[in-house]
Symmetry: none
Amino acid sequence: MDPDLIRRLSIPGESKVLLCVLDGLGGLPGPLGRSELESADCRHLDRLATDGALGQTIPVGHGITPGSGPGHFALFGYDPLVYEVGRGVLEGTGIDIELQPSDLAARGNLCTVDADGRISDRRAGRVATEVTAELAAELSTIELPGCEVVVHAVREHRFVLVLRATEGSLPLSDAISETDPQAEGVPPLDAVATGPEGEHTAALVNQFAREARARLAGRETANAVLLRGWSTLPDLPQLPELWKLRAAAIAVYPMYRGLARLVGMDVLDAGESFETAVARVRAAWDDYDFFFLHYKPTDAAGEDGDFARKRQALRDFDACVPELLALNPNVLIVAGDHSTPAMMAAHSWHPVPLLLWGDNVRTDASHHFDEGECSVGGLGTIPAKELLPLAFAHAMRLAKFGA
Amino acid sequence: MDPDLIRRLSIPGESKVLLCVLDGLGGLPGPLGRSELESADCRHLDRLATDGALGQTIPVGHGITPGSGPGHFALFGYDPLVYEVGRGVLEGTGIDIELQPSDLAARGNLCTVDADGRISDRRAGRVATEVTAELAAELSTIELPGCEVVVHAVREHRFVLVLRATEGSLPLSDAISETDPQAEGVPPLDAVATGPEGEHTAALVNQFAREARARLAGRETANAVLLRGWSTLPDLPQLPELWKLRAAAIAVYPMYRGLARLVGMDVLDAGESFETAVARVRAAWDDYDFFFLHYKPTDAAGEDGDFARKRQALRDFDACVPELLALNPNVLIVAGDHSTPAMMAAHSWHPVPLLLWGDNVRTDASHHFDEGECSVGGLGTIPAKELLPLAFAHAMRLAKFGA
């Protein structure tokens, strides 16, 4: 997707596009020689395959295994190699922090240092989340000149530090080094500017680390902090502006809400389950043109290496398809942010199955939604970032290029 | 392949990747309507196709017929349109000359000039290689200020001139014109600088040509030189550094050894036949992570327009497959640098069959390794430069991109 081209060609309309992202959708053959999708009984998806067209997406590049961030940005139309989002921002995104353009975020660890100030445990014995929450509240009271400090507990020893430049102050920069030496037996590092624009921020960060040390000095463990993944909000062209539409994100897990928020979608309350998420889509149907609906169980089962559970998760999604079709979307897409083969128990680089159904689709010979049929489907194998232009074209929301 | 991305994501490991390049692999249907591969009985490759996945590579671009250099660079992961290697360097590479970064190489012809200095035969009657070797030795004694001169006979009237800047001297530049007018009845041209950085080199080259003229003045034929294809060693990111591995090249023919050397592979002695080459792979198996094994007979037969011999060459390679499999590679690739259809008796632009077998391969429906099945194989049709990222991903040597 070329943002300038999309801005130029996109047109408003009445049509509705529903993008269902089955996290970690693609798989590999299991012990019986068939993949999760190949062996799942997904009759509704198969019907969509029959009436629609199949293909594959390459999330980042051949052989490149994407994290959730790059995988979703690609599906949202952004080249993940161009629009890279830093670790700190992603971690904040993952716990529903609403970051602002003036924010600098870092991933933090509580760690334990000995009497000589040397790290004896980088993870502070994986201290309980509740303790981290208490200490985060304490660290959030640290005052720095020209910026607000907020520390958010994540889980166990992990937290997110957000520094927010106050109005009229010097801007914060991610051009600073990490304070985590990634080793024990040595003291935490000072942050050092990696460019002149980072000098002001490095001084603030070192002041924060010293203050944190002082506040935690009475503790045996979890008595210091390590900071890494400094990042600011990326300058992403916003999806509603690019495409001239209203976009809604419905996701049970915060990471995916956060990613959608970064590209300008409205984040709706999805409730606690996929059923409540689907109900939320229905309730909001009249208010938006584009819906991003996220489904996590496929990836969760794949990451756990649980072939049978991933297959069941596919069936469970399939069971919801009639309810989604009842909304009468003009274009319905079933895609994945990456493959998570249960046989690998991890994200992988393999192409991701793709299904496009709805108005103006050139149907192909497919009858079953699986890796094999997708690899020879009529849509071909396309970079994931090209999916939205394809979808909105089918929804008649892209004008002709040239006369 | 984006070198910076690969540097960032590549990880060391214990896995082994074996890249078999069947030179000129792809073909076209012969008189009976089937291609060389389609009509060859390659049962071992078919077995690999059944257990692995097929696809096609596009070496340079659609419709672009590659030479050996670009064809191999693409398979090694380099965009051949970005990393162009000049003719002089390639010619030197083809006769096993080890060039250095300070070298300037040119392809040379011995030619015959008449009493007025006009070229009467651009190829000096295709003078015998032995004579060229003698004259090359004589021309190598020419002394130029600030650079060494070595002339290497190639075959018949052809030679390679290497100028090597001595330490502390002005660097040599390829920004000079050719002295070969590509016509007879006119005198050889003077080299002219095509940019200010070429002026010093143009003067040296013209001095060399005058000296050569003087040394050869007593001869009736082969009494002057023509020089073209000026080139210096390209600045290629080195494969072992990019991928964090040890890479070995095993090739009977010098051109392919030279190409591998240019990207930093260790060149092993392959002996005189493919059998000795395979034995060399086996002997070196513990010492390397990546093996490039080159097989020439497919291309040689194709270039000769000998359909039956190319088919036989495919069978002969097939017979070696069990020995290669016995090495237990984690990933085995059978690829080609380009197609050389016997029906065309030349390199061609057609996509090249590709077979990927080993760990983590998403098997497809293929059962026969040929152009037809490859064109609908599960790997799809990919730029050849994407092959190595794909292969090393399967070998678990690429980390995840983003969180």
